[in-house]
Amino acid sequence: MTSFIIRRLLLTILVLVIISFISFLLVFLMPGDPAAAALGLTASPTQIAELRHELWLDRPFIVQYFHWVSNVVRGDFGISLSYRDPIIDIFKERLPITLYLALWAFILSTIVGIAAGIVCAIRRGGFLDQTISVLANLGISVPIFLLGILGIYFFALKLNWLPVMGWTSPVDDFLLSTRQAVMPVIALAIPGIAMMARQTRSSMLEVVRQDYLRTAWSKGLKERQVILRHAIKNALIPIVTLLGLYVRVLVGGSVIVEQVFNVPGMGRLLVYASFSNDFITIQAGVLLIGAIVCAANLIVDISYGWLDPRVRYD
């Protein structure tokens, strides 16, 4: 197991290095002059030249890249071109907000999705199975912003149950914060619930056909025991893989949800940065999010090795 973890860790580091290269390449390949784009149309050639020099854009590619990486490793992402603050400080303020919402959505969709999938598999072809399957198909097809808009329309504007949008830290005002977080979290979780339910249903149905399950039945175990002890444990393996993929979906969803509900998280920051041609912030954001997803995948891989010993020796 230790050598498996070390191997995974080294692979993750390699992938991180490539991600840093890709996010750097994005700006290098940008059509036109990034400095001119960031300063806008009113900038004089001298100003542009100064900014180019300040951002090391006038050096060779490799020099620029190593300069950037060596700063990043020390926690210095540079100064945001649109906010004029150190990017690392902006991240420290905004990342917790995104993680807070995403974590709730993750918990909600894992629990509800897996439970719904198990119910479907047990009552295959029945009314519950059909209803949940239809809902799950809708859930993977619906754009998150539509969920957000429908939520705002019904629960905030028509019924007045919840605030329209906004964000308050749970530390400042827990009740208001929770009321504001309900809709973003649910909108973020719905596609995840649908994904989990579909995957759980199909991997449960796959497991049900295995010989060891027939053995469990034939030795006279109760339905509860067969499902809880024998079926679910094995059906969980592909679901764990899906959890790794789900982190990527969740990050993408956050970008949209934060825009719909006006939440000042990482997603909104990146959208704003892209409007204002603040390419250093985008570059740093891509790297940071890539690193977070890599860390999540590492955890998934390790728990995979723990759940299924066969994986450790590939």
Partner: protein, 292 residues
């Protein structure tokens, strides 16, 4: 199956069987009908839409739905229903072109990596690993930001964001398939690498990739809608369902249909593509039949 007088080629029977299995399921048929209707609407948009998508009429701005304007008018007095009709064009265009782009690049890279192995495979697959670690939304956002929005930027960013999955799937297929005797036979017969790759390995590895292509059509449409909703995709005045939802949102209380209608349209089209994709998967992978 009944005995047939003329024996069709295996590929034709396979195609027939696929179509039969798919047409047995009402949801798949319904999905296919919706997709077909949307294609018709996109082609004949100018004849179906009552107004031009860009006809501004400032005296009739922000109207509620009425017999003259079925879904009302927007802030510039443009007919929302007509814009919805024209919106089908961008959705389908982006779906088809972006997925083809992703498929072509990803499959070629995956084919090369799987066939040659060694350092070529290592370089390609580590690069793909890194792309896969980046959420598609973030990758698209970054690429669209660098390219400044618009159709080309949307196509390229969705194409790049989707490409890694094709590469990985193709690579896996080819690594297994190249062990087959027919590959050895082809090589013994003097076939070039190119010939083995494109006439032997490519057609044989297609079925799972076809499923991915059909499911991704819906995903690509959803991605375009999201980018346009965020304001970094297809920019107004070109009507897309994503940017229509976004611009209607501020009038949600007085004119809810202005943003809800295009949003629902996206959902239905994506759902239809997903249904067809699911049907195709069930038909091509008998092991999974009925489990999804």
């Amino acid at each position: 199956m009944a005995i047939e007088m003329e024996k069709p080629t295996p590929r034709v029977t396979e195609l027939r069987r696929t179509i039969r299995v798919m047409s047995d399921r009402p949801v798949v048929v319904a999905g296919a009908i919706v997709v077909f209707l949307v294609i018709i609407v996109a082609i004949f948009a100018p004849f179906i839409a009552p107004y031009d998508y860009n006809d501004q009429n400032l005296t009739d701005r922000l109207q509620s739905p009425s017999p003259t304007h079925w879904l009302g008018t927007d802030a510039l007095g443009r007919d929302v229903f007509s814009r919805l009709i024209y919106g089908t064009r961008i959705s389908l265009l982006v779906g088809i072109v972006a997925v083809s782009l992703a498929g072509a690049v990803g499959m070629t890279l995956g084919l090369a990596a799987g066939y040659f192995g060694g350092w070529i495979s290592n370089i390609i697959m580590r690069f793909i690993d890194a792309l896969l670690a980046l959420p598609p939304m973030i990758l698209m956002l970054a690429i669209a930001a660098m390219m400044g929005g618009g159709l080309l930027s949307v196509l390229i960013s969705i194409g790049i964001a989707m490409m890694p999955t094709y590469c990985r799937l193709m690579n896996g297929q080819v690594v297994t398939l190249k062990q087959n005797d027919y590959v050895t036979a082809a090589r013994a017969g003097g076939a070039s690498n190119q010939r083995i790759m494109f006439t032997h390995l490519l057609p044989n590895s297609l079925p799972p990739l076809m499923v991915l292509l059909s499911i991704n059509l819906g995903t690509a449409i959803l991605m375009e809608a999201s980018l346009s909703y965020l304001g970094i995709g297809i920019l107004p005045p070109v009507p897309t369902w994503g940017n229509m939802t976004q611009s209607g949102q501020q009038y949600l209380l007085i004119l809810p249909w202005m943003s809800i209608a295009p949003g629902v349209a996206i959902m239905l089209l994506v759902l239809a593509f997903n249904m067809v994709g699911d049907g195709l998967r069930d038909a091509l992978d008998p092991r999974l039949r009925g489990t999804l």
